[in-house]
């Protein structure tokens, strides 16, 4: 199980898509490829944009299907961040 503390390098407002991409490519995908599960820790993150969350996780749905939600957990999310994550997860499951 890998724990990814997002506030490190992201700050309290998660909006930098390039950083999201970097985390996705260098941490999330290699971990899932190894068969390990992931905890994304949003502690001290006040807000996140839909674009940031999309850049962070949408490609995981394409690569691993909706089942990826069984392998990733979202920790310490406030109400706003939870809702943005839910919007992106719903959207990706609606698409082909």
């Amino acid at each position: 199980m890998m724990l990814v503390k997002l506030v490190d390098g992201i700050g309290s407002f998660a909006e930098n898509k390039e950083k999201a991409k970097d985390i996705r490519l260098n941490k999330l995908i290699p971990t899932l490829e190894k068969g390990e599960d992931i905890i994304l820790d949003f502690k001290n993150i006040d807000d996140a944009t839909q674009s940031f969350i999309h850049a962070l996780i949408s490609d995981l749905f394409r690569k691993y299907g909706d089942e990826v939600l069984n392998r990733i957990s979202f920790k310490n999310c406030n109400e706003t961040v939870s809702k943005v994550i839910t919007i992106v997860a719903d959207y990706m499951q609606e698409t082909d």
């Binding site: 700050g11 407002f13 909006e15 930098n16 898509k17 390039e18 991409k21 996705r24 006040d46 807000d47 944009t49 839909q50 674009s51 999309h54 850049a55 949408s58 490609d59 749905f61 394409r62 109400e79 706003t80 809702k83 943005v84 839910t86 919007i87 992106v88 719903d90 959207y91 990706m92 609606e94 698409t95 082909d96």
Partner: protein, 333 residues
């Protein structure tokens, strides 16, 4: 009196823009119609000589336009009194490359405004987002939607506009109405060219309609977007404006879409922006790039978290409806 950078009197025709007595989002059209883009080599800025009170979107448009004639010719009529001081304080003359001769007395170092700021990199955007909360004296729940809007709009410019000069941003708090007014402008390829890479459209207004529709991105025709783009940024911003009861304007090419003030207290989001209470124009002077203006009433910003539930429903329904529309129909003979 004319303030100039390099003004060459050999030129009789210049690109012209006039700063009027008043230009805010509710009455922005006369200002835009007065924009004359017949000569892209020279910029002549004229002003109302008694008073100028304008939305930050007007200032960023002028600053962005001035970059396109950089190293060439810019002239600006001097303004008397407070109006000149206001434009100096907002950084307009700096971006025009003109010395106004106006000196500013900093009565309040952290006044509630963000002067015209040019953003060309992701790091510069991060810096602006960090600074804007204390500069505008925002409470945390107010900061959420305002940071959200600026981040999404500026990232759109950095990723899609292909602008040589980046994005120009300015914002100002208006005490009497308790509003933050935000303006962002670029001189890039515009919405029609950006969205048209995957969704070719016949005109600028159709392109604006597509750009505001959730799940439509210029980066792919595929539902769900790409790994970096969902095509939902502008829809989210329009939704924030809808919940906020106030104006949202987007102008690109010849077209302008304006979300009008909401008449009812009930928030209803539409995937199709033309179903919202709006006005639109498709015969305006051509703007090479994209301009966005938005007003946010600070008393209404606490709706942001609740708004996300509505956004979720509308966003998902838009995808389902498009999938349904694409279904093959049985052929009955």
């Amino acid at each position: 009196m004319i303030l100039t950078k390099k003004y060459n009197s050999r030129y009789n025709i210049a690109m012209k823009i006039h700063l009027p007595h008043s230009a805010f989002l509710g009455n922005i059209e006369p200002f835009i119609r007065g924009f004359d883009n017949s000569n892209l080599d020279q910029l002549q800025i004229t002003t109302n000589q008694k008073w100028v009170a304008v939305h930050p979107v007007v200032l960023v448009m002028v600053a962005a336009l001035a970059q396109t004639v950089e190293g060439k010719n810019t002239s600006c009529e001097a303004l008397p009194g407070y109006a000149g001081t206001y434009l100096e304080r907002m950084g307009l003359f700096k971006h025009l490359g003109i010395d106004s001769g106006i000196s500013i007395v900093e009565r309040e170092p952290a006044g509630r405004f963000i002067p015209i700021t040019k953003i060309t990199t992701s790091d510069e955007l991060t810096g602006l987002l960090t600074e804007m909360v204390p500069l505008l004296h925002l409470e945390p729940q107010q900061a959420s939607s305002i940071r959200y809007i600026v981040s999404e709009l500026v990232r759109n410019v950095l990723e899609h506009a292909k602008s040589q000069h980046g994005a120009f941003v300015a914002a100002q708090y208006h005490k009497k109405t308790n509003k933050i007014r935000i303006g962002i402008a670029d001189t890039g390829i515009g919405i029609k060219a950006a969205i048209g890479q995957s969704h070719p459209t016949g005109n600028d207004l159709e392109a604006l309609q597509l750009a505001l529709t959730p799940g439509i991105t210029g980066t792919t025709r595929k539902e769900g977007g790409t790994e970096q783009n969902a095509g939902a940024g502008l829809f989210f911003i329009k939704s924030i404006a809808t919940a906020n009861h106030d104006y949202f304007v987007i102008y690109s090419g010849n077209a302008l879409y304006k979300l009008l003030k909401r008449r009812s207290s009930k928030v209803i989001l539409h995937a199709n922006p033309f179903e919202d209470h709006h006005s639109k124009k498709s015969d305006l002077p051509y703007w090479r790039g994209t301009v966005v203006g938005i007003d946010l009433t600070l008393d209404a910003t606490e709706e942001f978290t609740n708004l996300l539930d509505l956004i979720r429903d509308t966003y998902s329904k838009a995808v389902r409806d498009r999938k349904k529309a694409r279904r093959k129909k049985p052929k009955f003979i």
